[in-house]
């Protein structure tokens, strides 16, 4: 019903566009100059269709449920029900009308449900009638009003601006909302667990917190030695470090090759190929790490008499490094390519060879941009989840041995939130605290990286 109505309104919109434009053409044919292109007349009418429709739909969505509820519950007034009971009755009525009620059906409720259904259908049809008549009236009014010298371009432009503004506002508000929910949950968490224990504690064992019976009162002392985040911060940076050890040299060298040595033809094929690496879903990297690289490392280690666990920091970090190569390679290629040719010419004309030119002129000139791309890579490494969850284990060991398993912030968030959880439980809130720390770290990295890159851009405008 709503869908049909919606389609109908969209069609009406197109029709009014068509009529608006047609009227503009008619005016034009009488040799009058228009104040805007004919399309604007069309758009103008379409807006006169869209805005009333939008307003009425929103009003309806806000008021219809309240009014229907009032009408239904008016039958039960003066019977001494409490507010809570009334709400329950209303919920039962709704459930019954949808055929989803499974309790005992009383005649009262049945009557209410029937009333509910009839009210809804009245509301729906009156909505359709009201919307359509108002739209037609407003479009007709606008159609009559537009003439050769009416302003249609400005309202259309303004409407577009408002629409675009609303879209960006929605994006920003969502971000702000997410950040705030992170902040509040984190604050709640630190009300139970002291900040000091979280930042400096060396035992991370959230499973322990899970044994608590929810009927028991919250006793902070039972969480000592449970939420010490040092092992997972260490694990996060350690795995990121391993990843960067793989990604920086390979990515940088391939970036330099692409920018300075590769012929146009090679570059044309090689660059997209490398960028395909960036398009592989991280889960795929994850099972590559868990099923191929991990066991492979274990086997090699065992044959050399080393004790390697199948889930090792090395496997996860190494594969993560491979995942990051295309970022560093592609970004540093861009940065190096944008070093002005005149600097290269200047260096060659002094008799410098290609490698001298790269080492002494191009690389220093591109360095800020390269650092920026590396920082972006690091922030990817720290935020990466799937590979770690699959390949580096979930036990938060405090270790610097790359052959043992460690865990990261992201992996622990997954561990905590998989399975049963209760909102307001310290264990669940710990995930928010971790998320907050992760957010802060990557935010700082991104800000620094973008600053550096921007500064570099300005230099070679």
């Amino acid at each position: 019903m709503n869908l049909i109505l919606f389609i109908f309104i969209v069609l009406l919109g197109f029709t009014s566009y068509y009529f608006g434009r047609k009227k503009a053409y008619t005016i034009q044919s009488t040799n009058k100059r228009l104040t805007a292109l004919p399309q604007f007349y069309g758009y103008y009418l379409a807006i006169w269709c869209a805005i009333p429709a939008f307003i009425i739909f929103s009003l309806w969505a806000i008021f219809e449920p309240t009014i229907v509820k009032l009408l239904i519950l008016s039958d039960y007034s003066n019977q001494g029900y409490l507010d809570d009971e009334l709400n329950l009755i209303y919920e039962k009525t709704k459930a019954l009308s949808r055929g989803q009620f499974t309790g005992e059906i009383t005649p009262f409720i049945e009557a209410s449900a029937e009333k509910y259904l009839s009210l809804r259908s009245i509301a729906q049809s009156s909505k359709a009638v009201i919307v359509l008549s108002i739209i037609i009236a407003s479009v007709a009014y606008a159609y009559k009003k537009i003439s050769s010298n009416s302003r249609t371009r400005e309202p259309v432009e303004k409407f577009l601006k408002v629409v675009l503004f609303t879209a960006s506002l929605a994006a920003i508000l969502t971000t702000v909302g997410i950040v705030f929910s992170l902040i509040f949950q984190t604050i709640d968490f630190f009300k139970v667990i002291p900040l000091f224990d979280f930042v400096f504690g060396t035992h991370w064992y959230p499973a322990k917190a899970f044994v608590r019976d929810s009927s028991e009162a919250l006793d902070p002392t039972m969480y000592s030695d449970t939420f010490g985040a040092v092992p997972i911060f260490a694990g996060t940076f350690f795995i990121a470090f391993i990843a960067m050890c793989v990604a920086i040299p390979i990515g940088l060298m391939s970036g330099i090759y692409l920018a300075e040595y590769a012929s146009v033809k090679v570059r044309q094929y090689a660059k997209p190929l490398i960028e395909i690496l960036a398009g592989i879903p991280t889960v795929v990297y994850g099972f590559f790490a868990a099923l191929t690289v991990g066991p492979f490392l274990k086997e090699i280690g065992n044959s050399m008499g080393l004790d390697v666990s199948a889930e090792s920091a090395l496997a996860a970090g190494g594969v993560m490094g491979i995942m990051i190569i295309p970022f560093i390679s592609s970004l540093s290629d861009d940065v190096i390519t944008s070093v002005p040719q005149s600097l290269r010419d200047g260096s060659y004309a002094m008799g410098a060879t290609k490698s001298e030119t790269i080492k002494k002129v191009i690389f220093p000139a591109a360095l800020p941009g390269i650092v920026g791309s590396i920082l972006l890579g690091v922030s990817r490494a720290i935020g990466e989840t799937m590979i770690v969850v699959m390949a580096s284990g979930l036990a938060a060991n405090l270790t610097l041995n790359p052959l043992e398993s460690t865990s990261t912030i992201t992996a622990q968030i997954v561990v905590i939130l998989i399975g049963d959880q209760a909102f307001g439980d310290p264990k669940t809130q710990a995930a928010f605290a971790l998320g907050m720390s992760l957010f802060l770290v990557t935010l700082c990295l991104n800000i620094v990286a973008l600053r550096v890159v921007k500064k570099y851009r300005e230099k070679y405008e």
Binding site: R344, D345, Y348, A349, M350, G351, K360, K459
Partner: protein
Amino acid sequence: MKKNGVKMIKINSKNVDVFYGKKQALFNINLDIEENQVTALIGPSGCGKSTFLRCLNRMNDVIDICRVKGQIIINDFDINDKSCDVVRLREKIGMVFQKPNPFPKTIYENISYGPTIHGMAQSKNEMDEIVETSLKKAALWEEVKDRLHEPGTGLSGGQQQRLCIARAISVKPEVILMDEPCSALDPIATAQIEELIDELKKDHTIIIVTHSMAQAARVSQNTGFFHLGELIEHGSTDKIFKNPENKKTQDYITGRFG
């Protein structure tokens, strides 16, 4: 300059053709450049002046699609020969570009760049000396001697161009190629550079591309006129400007076409 009454030829080009891909940019150029003189190359835009200049230090190697044919003989040696070492060649033949292009390094490092590459200084003192004499020769020393360790990109356009000239002469080249070195500068900076060119020709052979007839007349002893990839006429600047043999040269110099 004449030795025993004979003109000394520094560069001797024979039947030089240049192609960019399929398109031919220079046709059979035969041009001799006299030692310790300033030779100006003039001609309308796109006629191949820069292309010819870049042949002389093999800068066209940098452009993938560019092919050079013919002989260019410097010091009895064909630079297009396989046995020619580009690094040594460019040490001997310096170049200054149209737009000042100092490296994003300090003034000192800009000058010491070439000498370092070619291993010309054994000690810090020697390097300091090279930097100082190069800057003095480029008439920039007084202006920058207190800020040698500040970035070269922080200088004014005219200063940057003199820095680039100092950079070029730091390796004591025999020849200096200049491609419209004053086109980005104001008249005062231009006058300074022209004065400098006159000074430099004592020790160096100079070839300068310019769009300014007045500049060519002021600084050069010899002039070559290019048109559509051909060398139409060349000879002493006096002769080219006072009574050119070719009608096209005459028209170009008097500004009747461009």
